[in-house]
C-alpha cells in the first residue's frame, strides 16, 4: 500500500449550459497522502467545490460532464467505477461535510436516524448497535448529553451543533478520506475554532486524510499541511503550508495574501484589481493575466507547470 491515498490527474469537469461550456475544473492534478490535510484555496467560481464534488462523482450529469482525467483512490479510478461500487465508497471510505449545516440535514428525520442509516448500510450493524455507535459519535464531536439529544430533530440544534452532527455522520464509518467543503464558513469564529480543532484531532488520531476547501487563508494557515491555490478552474500554485505563506510564488497567491486584512497588522491593503474570470469565457492563455501585475506577452499562451508536482506553480515567471 502506497502512501498516496488519492491522486487526481488532469481532471476536467465541464458544464454544458445555454451560454456555452463552463470549464469549472480545467486540468487539475494533485495528490493527497494518508493523514494529510490539504487546503484547496480559491475564490468563489475558482472550481474548488466542483473539484471536491467530482471526487465522489456528485456533479449532476447533465449538465455536468467529466470531460477528462483520472481520480485514483487506493489504486482505482473513481471516474470509471460502476455506480454501485462507488456507492459503497460514499459515506464509507470517503465522506463529505458540506458548507451549509442548515440545509444539509434532512429536516424530517431524527438526528439518530441520519447517523444510523449509514452505519446500517455500510457496516451492516443492527439498529441497536448503530444507535449505540451514534451516541458515541455525538459524544466524540462534543455534543453535550448525547444520549438525550440523539433523538432530537435537526431544527432543535444550532448551526454549530448541526455542523457537529454533519461531522459525526461523516465520521461514522471511519473514512480514509474526508472532503470538507467550507465546513466553517457559515459559522461564527468562536464556533469555527471548535470545529477546526475537531478536524485537526481526527486527522492526527485516525490518520484520516482531509481535503479542506476554503476561501479563508487564515483557516488554511492554521490547519493545512499542504496547500493548492485554484484560479479559473486550474491549480496555479502548490506548496507545503509554510513556504506558501512565507514565500508565495504565483502573482495571484501574492496578491491574495497582500489583500487580506490581518488581525496582527494594520498595514495598507493592496487589492487585486479587476474581478475573477468568467468560466464560460476563459482567455486562451493564463486566466489571471488580465489582473496580473507581472503580465508579459507570453501570458497570452497557457503556461505549463514549473517545479515539482508538490511544490510549484503554473506561471511563465517560473521559466528561468
Amino acid at each position: 500500500m502506497s502512501d498516496v491515498l488519492l491522486s487526481v490527474e488532469d481532471l476536467q469537469t465541464h458544464f454544458h449550459t445555454e451560454y456555452g461550456t463552463v470549464k469549472a475544473v480545467n486540468g487539475v492534478s494533485f495528490e493527497v497522502k494518508r493523514g494529510e490535510i490539504m487546503g484547496l484555496v480559491g475564490e468563489s467560481g475558482s472550481g474548488k467545490s466542483v473539484t471536491n464534488l467530482s471526487i465522489l462523482r456528485l456533479v449532476p450529469t447533465p449538465p455536468g460532464e467529466y470531460a477528462g482525467g483520472r481520480i485514483m483512490f487506493d489504486g482505482q479510478d473513481l471516474l470509471t467505477l460502476p455506480e454501485h461500487t462507488l456507492r459503497s465508497y460514499r459515506g464509507n471510505r470517503i465522506a463529505m461535510i458540506f458548507q451549509d449545516p442548515m440545509t444539509s440535514l434532512t429536516p424530517y428525520m431524527r438526528v439518530s436516524r441520519q447517523i444510523t442509516e449509514v452505519l446500517e448500510l455500510h457496516q451492516k450493524m443492527t439498529r441497536t448497535q448503530a444507535k449505540k455507535r451514534a451516541i458515541e459519535l455525538l459524544e466524540m464531536v462534543g455534543i453535550p448529553d448525547p444520549a438525550g439529544r440523539v433523538d432530537s430533530w435537526p431544527h432543535e440544534f444550532s448551526g454549530g451543533m448541526r455542523q457537529r452532527v454533519m461531522i459525526a455522520m461523516a465520521l461514522a464509518c471511519r473514512p480514509e478520506l474526508l472532503l470538507a467543503d467550507e465546513p466553517t464558513t457559515a459559522l461564527d469564529v468562536t464556533i469555527q475554532a471548535q470545529i477546526l480543532e475537531l478536524i485537526r484531532e481526527l486527522a492526527r488520531e485516525h490518520g484520516t486524510a482531509v481535503i479542506m476547501v476554503t476561501h479563508d487563508l487564515g483557516v488554511v494557515a492554521g490547519i493545512a499541511d499542504h496547500v493548492s491555490v485554484m484560479y479559473g478552474g486550474r491549480i496555479v500554485e502548490r506548496a507545503p503550508v509554510e513556504p506558501l505563506f512565507a514565500n508565495p510564488q504565483h502573482p495571484y497567491t501574492k496578491g491574495l495574501l497582500a489583500s487580506v486584512p490581518r488581525l496582527d497588522s494594520r498595514g495598507e491593503l493592496t487589492p487585486i484589481p479587476g474581478s475573477p474570470p468568467d468560466l464560460s469565457d476563459l482567455p486562451p492563455g493564463c486566466a489571471f493575466a488580465p489582473r496580473c501585475e507581472a503580465v508579459m506577452d507570453k501570458c497570452a499562451k497557457q503556461p505549463g507547470w514549473y517545479g515539482e508536482p508538490t511544490l510549484g506553480k503554473r506561471c511563465w515567471l517560473g521559466e528561468a
Binding site: P144, S158, Q194, H215, G222, L269
Partner: protein
C-alpha cells in the same frame, strides 16, 4: 477627527415582541436584541462594531437610523434626540445619516437604473430638482466610487457583487451625509474584492470627514478601517477601546476568546498561538442568562457575583470593559508580557 461627539447612544434597548398564537395574541415574551447599549461616535471617527451572529449588531445599526422602533434609551445625533423626532423632522435628519447594506444583491431595486438608484436620495430629499442635473451628480459619484460613469443607464443585474457594493456606497454618499452605518459591507464579497471596498470606504471617510459605525463579524477587517472598536455580546457592549487595545491586549474574557479564535494567515504564528476555545453556543436572546450574560460560557466565571449581578462598562487600563473581575483575570492565553 475631533473631540466633538456626533452620535451618543445611551442605554439603547430594542426588544421584539413574541406573541402567542391566535387572533387575540398576547405578548408572551421579547427577543432582547439590544439590551442596554452605550456608544459614542465622534465626528470623523470610524467605530467598528464587532460580534457574533445574533448579538444584536445589525439591529443596533438599524436603531441608529430609527429603522426599527426603540424600546428604550436614547440615540442623540448632533444634539438632537432621534427618538423624539417625527414626520418631516425625522425625514430631514435622515438625509444626514445613511446606511450601506450587507447584501449587494438584495439592497438595490432591480427595476431601477443605476443612475436612478444613486440619484434617489437627491430626489427624495428635494436636494436637486432638475432630473438631468441629478444624473450628472450620479455619474460623478459613480466615478468617485470606481464605476464607469457611462454605465449610468444600466441595471443592477449587469454588475458584479463588488460593483454593486460600490453602487450602494455611491447611493449612501448622494445626500452628503455626516454619518454612515456600514452593515457588514464586505462579508458577501470575494476575498480579492474585499480589500478594494475597504480601501474605498477608508478614503471616503478621510476625504469627506465622515463618521462610520462599521458593523462586522470579522475583527481583522474592522481593524483596518476603525479608529475604535466596540465588541458586542448578547445585546450589550462588553469592551471598547482602540484597535491596539482590543486586538493586542483584550481585557474582557469574551474579547480574549474572540481575538484568539480568529485565524491569522501565517502558519508559523498559527502554530504558536494559543486558542481559548469557548464551550457551547451563544444563549438565546429570548431568555438571556442572569447577571453577566457571558457567565454561561466564560472560562473564568466565578460563583456568586457573575450569576447575580450584571456588570456595567467601566474604565480599566484606559478602555471600557464590562467584567466584574477585569483587573484580576489577566491574559487567558497564558502569554507572558
Amino acid at each position: 477627527m475631533s473631540d466633538d461627539v456626533l452620535l451618543k447612544v445611551e442605554g439603547l434597548k430594542v426588544h421584539f415582541p413574541v406573541l402567542s398564537k391566535g387572533f387575540f395574541a398576547r405578548q408572551v415574551g421579547a427577543v432582547k436584541a439590544v439590551d442596554g447599549l452605550d456608544l459614542e461616535v465622534r465626528r470623523g471617527e470610524v467605530v467598528g462594531l464587532v460580534g457574533e451572529s445574533g448579538c444584536g449588531k445589525s439591529t443596533t445599526g438599524r436603531a441608529l437610523l430609527r429603522l426599527v422602533p426603540l424600546t428604550g434609551g436614547k440615540v442623540v445625533f448632533d444634539g438632537v434626540d432621534l427618538g423624539e423626532l417625527k414626520g418631516e423632522e425625522l425625514r430631514k435628519m435622515r438625509r444626514r445619516v445613511q446606511i450601506i447594506f450587507q447584501d449587494p444583491y438584495a439592497s438595490l431595486n432591480p427595476r431601477m437604473t443605476v443612475g436612478d438608484i444613486i440619484a434617489e436620495p437627491l430626489a427624495a430629499h428635494g436636494l436637486v430638482k432638475d432630473a438631468k442635473e441629478r444624473q450628472t451628480r450620479a455619474q460623478a459619484l459613480m466615478e468617485r466610487c470606481g464605476l464607469d460613469p457611462s454605465f449610468v443607464r444600466r441595471y443592477p443585474h449587469e454588475f458584479s457583487g463588488g460593483q454593486r457594493q460600490r453602487i450602494g456606497i455611491a447611493r449612501a454618499l448622494a445626500s452628503d451625509p455626516d454619518f454612515i452605518v456600514c452593515d457588514e459591507p464586505i462579508s458577501a464579497l470575494d476575498v480579492s474584492i474585499q480589500a478594494q471596498i475597504l480601501n474605498l470606504l477608508k478614503e471616503l471617510a478621510r476625504e469627506r470627514n465622515l463618521s462610520y459605525v462599521f458593523i462586522a463579524h470579522d475583527l481583522s477587517a474592522v481593524r483596518h478601517i476603525s479608529d475604535r472598536i466596540a465588541v458586542m455580546y448578547l445585546g450589550r457592549i462588553v469592551e471598547t477601546g482602540t484597535f491596539d487595545q482590543i486586538c493586542d491586549d483584550p481585557k474582557h474574557p469574551y474579547t480574549q476568546a474572540l481575538v484568539s479564535a480568529i485565524p491569522v494567515p501565517d502558519p508559523v504564528i498559527e502554530r504558536r498561538r494559543k486558542r481559548i476555545v469557548l464551550q457551547g453556543d451563544v444563549p438565546s436572546p429570548l431568555n438571556p442568562p442572569t447577571g453577566c450574560t457571558f457567565h454561561t460560557r466564560c472560562p473564568v466565571a466565578r460563583e456568586g457575583k457573575c450569576q447575580s449581578e450584571a456588570p456595567t462598562l467601566r474604565t480599566v487600563n484606559d478602555r471600557l470593559v464590562s467584567c466584574h473581575f477585569a483587573e484580576e483575570i489577566g491574559d487567558l492565553t497564558g502569554r507572558s508580557e
